[in-house]
């Protein structure tokens, strides 16, 4: 029985499709997590990424339907994600409304709007074509997963170093980190705290919209209401799991994406593992990691605290 289980796990681990599907699922999370990481470093827990992702997916479907081009679809998806992010940013860091309430409401709004519009407009979509990077795709096991995928997936590869460079190597990034740690000090240094926070949320909106577009055009191929289904929240969990570092967040996405693909592929080899356990793994693991390593990971010190000059 135990031997059977391990041989089944071995079968899963030695097949290239496992790695491909795990990587695809992880990438969808990573698009969102990159943006959410920056937003959280600036001090916002941006719950609306779930809505941005769904808006991105639906807008990408509409864009593809209208233009027939995957690139246009992705661009429109990113724009829709940005729009959701902009609403979140202005409500929470201009009007000083509670960021969680705004995010939650936006998620409900986008879900309602997308399923309402989908039922009346019914966009026709397809998946982007697979682009195999010559040479690299020949690598055994990992080659097809990393370099033999629908082309929108490759957008993530430059995006992650770009985010790292923005946050750690530019003045803007320094200010974003300052604003997330000590907004009062940043304010005194003539940094516009709420503007930086808004900009960080715009970035999160764009990448989440892109992630939604990738999910639709690179992975699923048609729009359904449940296409995102909590993946935005898993990405938020990944950022926290990673202790607010980019490395950790990406590792979290990889782990949670693999767990998800494991859940999907185990029944195929005849071993229904407890799928509820695997589905709740990202959340349980994040809570455990936070509880155990709370003293080692340092969250941005003013995470989720609104900044109003003169009020602490």
């Amino acid at each position: 029985m135990v031997g059977d289980f391990f041989s089944a796990v071995g079968d899963v681990l030695s097949s290239e499709t496992t790695y491909s599907s795990g990587w695809r699922l992880a990438v969808a999370l990573a698009f969102v997590a990159v943006g959410e990481w920056i937003a959280e470093r600036a001090g916002t827990i941006n719950i609306s990424v779930e809505g941005s992702m769904l808006a991105g997916a639906f807008a990408a479907a509409m864009g593809y339907d209208a233009s027939g081009s995957v690139a246009v679809g992705l661009l429109i998806g990113a724009a829709a994600g940005l729009l959701v992010g902009a609403v979140q940013a202005h409500f929470s860091h201009n009007l000083t409304a509670n960021q969680f309430v705004v995010g939650l409401t936006l998620n409900i709004l986008v879900l309602g709007l997308a399923s309402f519009l989908n039922s009346s407009l019914k966009p026709e979509t397809a998946t982007a074509h697979v682009f195999e990077v010559p040479g690299l795709v020949e690598i055994p096991l990992l080659g097809p997963a990393l370099f033999g995928q629908p082309w929108p997936l490759y957008l993530l590869y430059p995006l992650v170093p770009l985010a790292w460079w923005l946050v750690y190597r530019t003045r803007w990034g320094l200010e974003v980190r300052a604003v997330g740690e000590n907004p009062q000090a940043a304010d005194v240094s003539s940094i516009d705290v709420n503007a930086r926070r808004r900009q960080a949320i715009y970035f999160a909106g764009i990448t989440s919209g892109l992630g939604g577009g990738y999910l639709l055009l690179g992975q699923v191929g048609w729009f359904e209401d449940a296409i995102v289904g909590g993946q935005g929240f898993i990405a938020i969990a990944a950022v926290i799991f990673g202790g607010w570092t980019l490395r950790g967040a990406m590792l979290g996405c990889l782990l949670f994406g693999s767990a998800n693909s494991f859940r999907l592929s185990l029944p195929a080899v005849g071993h229904p593992l407890n799928s509820e356990l695997l589905s709740s793994l990202p959340f349980v693991l994040t809570i455990c990691v936070m509880a155990l390593f709370a003293h080692r990971t340092r969250e941005p010190q003013s995470l989720a605290r609104p900044f109003i000059r003169g009020l602490r």
Binding site: L113, E276, P282, I287
Partner: protein
Amino acid sequence: MTATSAGAGDVRYDRAREGATVLGIYLASIAVALVAAALVLLATGGSWTSVLSALLDGSVRGPGRWGTTIGVAIPLLLVALGTIVNSRGGLVNLGQEGQLFVGAALGTYVATHIGTGGPGVLFLIMLAGVAGGAIWAGIAAVLRYQRRMPEVLTTLLLVFVASQAVGYGLKNKNLLLDPTPDQANRNLISERLRPDTRLPRLDWFGNEFPMTAFIALLLAILVALVLRWTIVGFRLQMLGRGPRTAHRAGVSEARYGGLALVVSGAFCGLAGAFMLAGGDFGNYRLTPNYPVNIGWEGLLVALVGRNHPLVSIPVAFIFAGLRTGSGFLAATGVDRDITKVVQALLVLALLVPPAILFVRDRRRALAAAADRV
């Protein structure tokens, strides 16, 4: 003498003008939201008059619809009451959906495993619901005050854990799954509650609703009284408004904050038990995705009701009306999800006026302070 009376008149005039301004800002925001919703409808070729009339038919005008709407408003109000308790204490609970689900699941477990019925068992089911919600929120409270983890994140993450945990229970016959042999395994639903463990339903002028409506109303009054007139309520709100003041006044943050979270969860769990035994949701059976967003919407009810228990009563009814009214939209050819859009737009619109007033009052206060200097 004349000067003072003129001053009093000014104050009265100022107050009236102030009230008119506030009302004007609120009305303008709501109007913008409704116009935006109408535009979405027009863009897809729907007619807003027929939608409005269908919504009214479905929520209040149709025969017996008052009762249905009240049935939906009960859990919404309870969740809102719980949310008010934690918000007044300065804590953010985003886990209502999960707390409600766990409460309903524990209630189902008790109901299906006891084997007898009667008022005592019904009471036990309610108690199990309260315990389920309180435990689920209690986890977040323990993590908050033992490990300093933000309750916002833990409550939110626990929502997803709750739905998976209950999903697991619904797959196992010795937990929640209906063990009847002819029941197909794929139907992940629990056994039906025995008729003598269901909540009694009243019938007023053809409108049928569970008697828990009155319990919910009483609880709303109770919460208002406790917050307004008791020491516990006072300390809780002191914690919410000025944690440092509360600390100096000897209010234990862990005790009162933890209490607020647990009470909040208990209200949500009770809402779940009421839904289960009330009959308006899932026909006395627990199903996957049982809370159907009641938890999220209850949170919004509390928000729109400005965290006031009594104001939340009509708000819960309006939100329930949007939900029950949406069932009648099929006849108009408009997708029922439009009500979600209307609801979310309304909530967003209602976030704006307090923010505008806050910014304005602050600017005035700063100007006055500058004048004094």
